[in-house]
Amino acid sequence: MGCIESLKYEIILRNASFRECREYIRANCREYLDVPPGFRIFDKHIIGVPPISIGFDGDTITFPYTKPCYGTFLMKVEDREEAEKIRLSVAKKSK
């Protein structure tokens, strides 16, 4: 998983579909933002079918991570700096 593997992460869903991940985030996270495919998160380009939702609970980020053989994992990582970076980047793009 490259640099994502070096993070302290929690896996919420395994071998899920992109749709299940989107629905989970929208139903369970306090806030969410939609990003386009290819959006950079933890230095990786996010893979998925738009709209791709990223969830936030304070500084905890919930996001889908797709691997060709294993489908999509829904992961949760606490990272204040990255959460701030994503919020700023999405706000800039939507202006």
Partner: protein, 159 residues
């Protein structure tokens, strides 16, 4: 830096997990068919998909440049490379996600090659712009090979 080839067209075969047996054979067939039509091809895939092709074509009669799938996504997202067509092999949900991503970040036509047990279900998940070539091919590549033969001349001359 954007790299493009002078003259002929360039294609990419985007390959995921080689879990369904037809993928490697169809990829070699497509590389051959594209080369015959003057299209230069790159294969972007995970390690297992790339190794299966390299072992099957050791003298590189059909196979040209190969690239790791994540690196390919980075290079097109960062506009370091561009290609005229993207053929994306799809037999699972992850394949649909990769096709949608390639379509969104490349701006070039995507041709979805959909196969395997769940080919209809996968085809129904695709609601983004692309050409779909779909058949129930798992062990026997002929249903999809025949469809590629029908569609490829049109793809190469019109997209």
């Amino acid at each position: 830096m954007t790299q493009t080839r002078q003259g002929g067209k360039d294609a990419v075969l985007v390959m995921g997990c080689p879990q369904v047996p037809v993928q490697t054979g169809l990829a070699l067939y497509l590389l051959h068919a594209l080369r015959k039509r003057g299209v230069k091809s790159l294969v972007a895939g995970n390690q297992a998909a790339r190794l299966l092709l390299e072992v099957a074509d050791p003298e590189r009669h059909y196979l040209g440049e190969v690239m790791d799938l994540d690196r390919f996504i980075s290079e097109i997202a960062e506009k370091k490379r561009r290609f005229d067509y993207h053929f994306v092999f799809i037999h699972n949900d992850a394949g649909v996600s990769y096709a949608a991503t390639v379509q969104a970040i490349s701006g070039s036509p995507v041709i979805a090659l959909i196969y395997g047990e769940h080919f209809q279900e996968m085809a129904e998940l695709i609601d983004f712009p692309c050409e779909k070539i779909a058949a129930k091919a798992t062990h026997n590549p002929m249903p999809l090979k025949n469809k590629i033969d029908e569609v490829l001349p049109w793809v190469v001359s019109n997209l």
